[in-house]
């Protein structure tokens, strides 16, 4: 999974959020067909499923700036998985490679990531919109 920005961002922490676990959203008498309410699995039979390890790579101008090894990616109910950088870094691209998963969805191994949050700020101005001029022909009535 990749997140490229059109302008450099100074980032200091990244939060990865996995799908809700079956146990956190299934109560007696309610609808609980799966770990994310019918969308992506039947973990009561085949799950739960997690990303167990991943590699987070931060790039600037195509060059690798920093690499972080990530463990299990937790659901939002557990606060997700927070990666705090020792110092803020200027990047323009983030890449997450999933290395290992656990659990299954419908007999298949899956890798699921629900959300990502990147705490940062502008390291340079956002690119201005290109203003195009169109010269239209005059049409006589």
């Amino acid at each position: 999974m990749a997140l490229p920005w059109p302008a450099n961002q100074r980032v200091r922490q990244i939060r990865l959020v996995g799908p809700p676990s079956y146990s956190s959203n299934c109560a007696s008498g309610s609808y609980c067909g799966s770990g994310d309410w019918g969308g992506f699995g039947s973990p009561e039979q085949y799950g739960p499923y997690f990303v167990e390890s991943a590699t987070l790579e931060l790039y600037r101008d195509g060059a690798l700036v920093h690499t972080v090894s990530v463990g299990r990616i937790n659901p939002r109910s557990d606060g997700g998985t927070l990666i705090e950088l020792a110092t803020s870094l200027v990047i323009d691209r983030l890449r997450l490679t999933i290395n290992n998963t656990s659990g299954r969805w419908y007999w298949s191994q899956v890798a699921a990531l629900n959300e990502i949050e990147v705490i940062g700020q502008a390291a340079e101005p956002w690119p201005l919109r290109q203003i195009w001029q169109a010269w239209l022909p005059l049409v006589r009535q």
């Binding site: 490229p4 920005w5 609808y31 309410w37 969308g39 949050e117 990147v118 940062g120 700020q121 956002w126």
Partner: protein, 303 residues
């Protein structure tokens, strides 16, 4: 009510814990399907002290006494000159601030680094006048006050720092809204909700006050910044929404719930309750079944 959303009234502690659903049964009044939409709390809170009342005086309702200077031609009716009006200070430490993932709403601010200028437009006349469509519709036309066609008036333009902060002296007790512009003076675009202005408010500050507003809040869709307020006021925010997400593979559904673009885009995202939806969606219903505003572009945890 006839919609999919059935509202219940819940009491809770000040920290949001201890939620208890209040029973509501109006069958005896012939309102068996009524819900808590219009409920008003009537039980006094205990263990809580209200902040001290800092009320000083009532803002003038007479336009001639408003804090708008008659030096501006639009406000020639005012009895106050530029040096006579009461003012206050509004400070925004970070117009880019976004709520965290732990709250329902995010993506409510322009892209970081996009704003160069903040304008305040006074909007004292948004409720004055009405247009009576001739001939004589609707009656009684004669009782209508003709629209004076006085719209928002530009008060001031101030620079916005790279971290998104600006400070401005504003007329007190006056309605207005703020417009964010880029360094070319154009409206800032590319934020996921695409507003033309922020912080539309009715008299947001009293004379002599210094008001701090963080982010580009828009009423009930703004979400809370409480859990990230310190970060936000230091100029940090979630910048993921302004990237273009892609993935090597993903699960495709009819409603594109799992496309990569959803991973950093929570427009109108409404969390499903901890125990999951109360019931499974019916085939005849929209795919949101109570956890999603049907407005285009709004997504829910349920898809």
């Amino acid at each position: 009510m006839g919609g999919f959303v059935h509202l219940r009234l819940v009491v809770m502690n000040a920290d949001g814990r201890g939620k208890t659903v209040l029973p509501l049964n109006l069958t005896g009044l012939g309102l068996g399907t009524a819900d808590a939409r219009d409920a008003k709390p009537i039980a006094p809170r205990t263990g809580w002290l209200s902040p001290p009342d800092q009320f000083t005086d009532v803002a003038a309702d007479d336009p001639a006494q408003w804090n708008v200077p008659n030096a501006l031609p639009e406000y020639a009716f005012s009895q106050r000159g530029l040096g006579d009006i009461a003012t206050s200070v509004i400070h925004n430490p970070n117009v880019y601030a976004n709520p965290s993932l732990l709250t329902p709403f995010t993506n409510n601010s322009p892209p970081p680094g996009s704003v160069a200028w903040a304008e305040l437009w006074l909007d004292t006349n948004q409720f004055t006048g009405a247009f009576c469509y001739p001939p004589a519709y609707p009656q009684p036309c004669d009782d209508f006050r003709q629209d004076n066609e006085l719209r928002a008036v530009l008060w001031d333009t101030v620079p916005v720092t790279p971290a998104g902060a600006f400070t401005m002296t504003v007329p007190a007790d006056v309605m207005g809204f703020i417009v964010l512009r880029d360094e070319n003076g154009r409206l800032v675009r590319d934020w996921n909700r695409g507003y033309a202005s922020i912080a539309q408010g009715s008299s947001w500050s009293r004379p002599g006050e210094a008001v701090t507003c963080t982010g580009c809040h828009m009423g009930h869709v703004s979400g809370s910044l409480d859990d990230v307020l310190e970060l936000a006021q230091e100029g940090w925010q979630n910048v993921a929404p302004y990237a273009v997400a892609s993935a090597s593979s993903y699960h495709q559904t009819a409603y594109e719930t799992f496309v990569p673009g959803q991973i950093n885009d929570r427009r109108g995202w409404i969390p499903a309750p901890a125990h999951g939806p109360d019931r499974a969606p019916r085939l005849t219903e929209p795919y949101q079944t109570g956890y999603q505003d049907a407005t285009t572009g709004w997504k829910s945890e349920n898809g």
